[in-house]
């Protein structure tokens, strides 16, 4: 896909997120919208994967550590062909394969059962170690929230990924600067975040997480770094693409009303036309 097509796809995923959460009447639009471009780049450009065979042993792995952003992952999986797009509307409904947070038992293409924050990087380390042990060349990607970086386990994992010299593992931090109740700066300051990862032994790349050129270049660079893991700190806007959700903690874990959803979809359609 060319960058213009990627942009269109990201916009499509955002529209799915709005429709899915509005239909469900609950869910997490803010952190799904901030991650939409990163996830689009991974699923529609960067990763080697086969929607017809989700268990393909050589697939690149994507682990969504911030499991509450499940809607945008489900949208990417459906658009890739893992399951029918109509199924997206079943999000959070009884007996749906699309649980409120990711469930690896139920959803084709989902690698990890997440939702309790702070665990995904550890899981990714296991997956990346297995690649090394099995002499497989698949890549392991893991997406963390910035608020999630307050979890102690994230830093246990950061230490060990560097210690095990996992240069087949790329972490991406969705640095939207907002967590559940407000700005990370006010709730529990993370800065200097990039220096922290560096001090833990990681190669750090900082980018604008809504710019496909920068996303693709960073993920490319990460694959060339030897004997240490890379973290891409992607500066993003929570709620990106919908004016009244942007930088608004209120839409962290609140679905749009049907009226808000309509406004949001109009804004997202206009964006596509531009």
């Amino acid at each position: 896909m060319e960058n213009t097509e990627l942009k269109e796809m990201a916009n499509k995923l955002r529209r799915h997120v709005i429709i899915m959460t509005a239909t469900a009447g609950s869910g997490h639009p803010g952190g799904s919208l901030s991650a939409a471009d990163i996830i689009t780049a991974l699923y529609f450009k960067v990763m080697r994967h086969n929607p017809g065979n989700p268990q393909w042993q050589d697939r690149d792995r994507f682990i969504l550590s911030k499991g509450h952003a499940a809607p945008v992952l489900y949208a990417a999986l459906a658009e890739s062909g893992y399951f029918p797009i109509e199924e997206l509307r079943t999000l959070r409904k009884l007996d749906s394969r699309l649980q409120g947070h990711t469930d690896r038992n139920l959803t084709p293409g989902v690698e990890m059962s997440a939702g309790s924050l702070g665990m995904g990087l550890s899981f990714a380390i296991g997956v990346a170690l297995a690649a090394r042990l099995n002499a497989k060349d698949y890549w392991t990607y893991v997406l963390l929230g910035d608020g999630e970086c307050q979890e102690g386990q994230t830093w246990e994992a950061a230490l060990s990924a560097a210690h095990f010299r996992l240069d087949n593992l790329t972490a991406i931090v969705d640095r939207n600067r907002i967590q559940l109740t407000g700005w990370t700066r006010d709730i529990m300051n993370l800065e200097p975040l990039s220096l922290k990862w560096q001090a833990f032994g990681w190669h750090v790349i900082e980018i604008n997480g809504h710019d496909f050129n920068q996303i693709l270049t960073a993920l490319e660079e990460a694959r060339k770094i030897k004997s240490q893991p890379t973290v891409v700190i992607a500066h993003t806007i929570k709620g990106k693409g919908v004016s009244f959700m942007e930088n608004n903690p209120a839409f962290h874990g609140k679905a749009p009303t049907l009226e808000e959803a309509e406004r949001a979809l109009k804004e997202l359609e206009r964006r596509e036309l531009r």
Partner: protein, 315 residues
């Protein structure tokens, strides 16, 4: 008790069994959290350094790594002290191992108060309640080193998450070589008509000891070793209740959520009979030698004997 005087270490057995398993199966990976000389995973690490990862003092991270490896096809053993495996990592085990039913075997040593001198922080007395609460987990407490070796091999060859609790000190052998462990099955150690003592771990040997003076006074005890706490052999429990009419449960664990609670639930539903419980009650233990602690907190053959006498009155 001369017949029970031979002692062996369940954790040393663990290390040796891992080495055997590692020779047969190259997909076995062992993790530890800076305790490999104590958990004895060091024996495996020496033999297979490429298949061993010390995760450092990062128990929660170790569980996540174990899950990632298992999700990629490995059979993973992860070890630390039982108290940390249960209490420190509860959410990680829940989300990364139990819910996704991954093939990880938590083999935890220093279970119970016989962890001893290190005191409360190192004594796992609620671990069985916690691990039995996980849907789909298999929970095993071997009665001795011979059963431990068997159970570890069965775990390695049975898909799914397991918790196996081992002890710090050497413990009396109740089995001899050639014993065959069947997952989920109770073992009748001694027949008796008047009452059944259901025990696990180190309490099996104590139950055998308790039965001797009782037998001399004409009280015949059926003794059941219940190594698999989950899934529980309900049939053996119901049969014991029907045939002997009273039950004593003995375990190195708090009163709630362990073997006693689990057996009582079956008895209440299927075949109510008088019951008595020998356990740590509802309290933490102090530092001390293993034998001193067992004495102090009432995990003795004498306590089992008294429980038998008391419950048999109620038949």
């Amino acid at each position: 008790m001369s017949e029970l005087m031979i002692e062996a270490s369940t954790r040393e057995t663990y290390g040796k069994t891992l080495v055997e398993l590692g020779k047969e199966n190259k997909d076995i990976i062992v993790l530890d959290a800076d305790l490999s000389p104590s958990t004895m995973t060091r024996l495996f690490a020496r033999e297979f350094p490429d298949h061993f990862f010390d995760c450092g003092l990062e128990e929660q991270n170790m569980i996540g790594i174990a899950a990632g490896l298992a999700a990629s096809g490995k059979t993973v053993f992860a070890s630390t002290f039982a108290v940390f495996a249960a209490c420190r990592c509860f959410d990680q085990v829940r989300m990364c191992l139990s819910q996704p039913k991954l093939n990880v075997k938590i083999v935890a040593t220093h279970g119970g108060i016989t962890a001893g001198e290190d005191g409360t922080s190192h004594q796992a007395i609620e671990d069985l309640a916690l691990y039995c609460s996980f849907p789909g987990f298999t929970v095993i407490v071997p009665a001795d080193a011979i059963e431990a070796a068997e159970a570890i091999k069965v775990a390695a060859n049975t898909y799914g998450p397991f918790y196996i609790r081992l002890s710090r000190p050497k413990t009396p052998l109740v089995y001899s070589e050639g014993y065959h462990f069947t997952l989920g099955k109770a073992v009748t150690m001694r027949e008796g008509k008047d009452i059944t003592i259901i025990a696990m771990g180190i309490m099996v040997a104590k139950a055998m000891e308790a039965s001797l003076p009782l037998a001399r006074q004409g009280i015949g005890c059926r003794i059941i070793n219940m190594p698999t706490l989950k899934p529980l052999d309900e049939e053996a429990i119901v049969r014991a209740a029907s045939e002997t009419g009273a039950i004593v449960v003995a375990e190195e664990h708090l009163a709630h959520g362990g073997l006693g609670s689990r057996v009582a639930q079956v008895i209440a539903k299927e075949k109510p009979v008088p019951m008595e419980f020998v356990n740590l009650k509802d309290r933490y233990a102090l530092s001390g030698k293993a034998e001193e602690l067992l004495e102090r907190y009432g995990l003795t053959a004498k306590a089992i004997e008294e429980a038998v006498r008391s419950v048999i009155q109620k038949k």
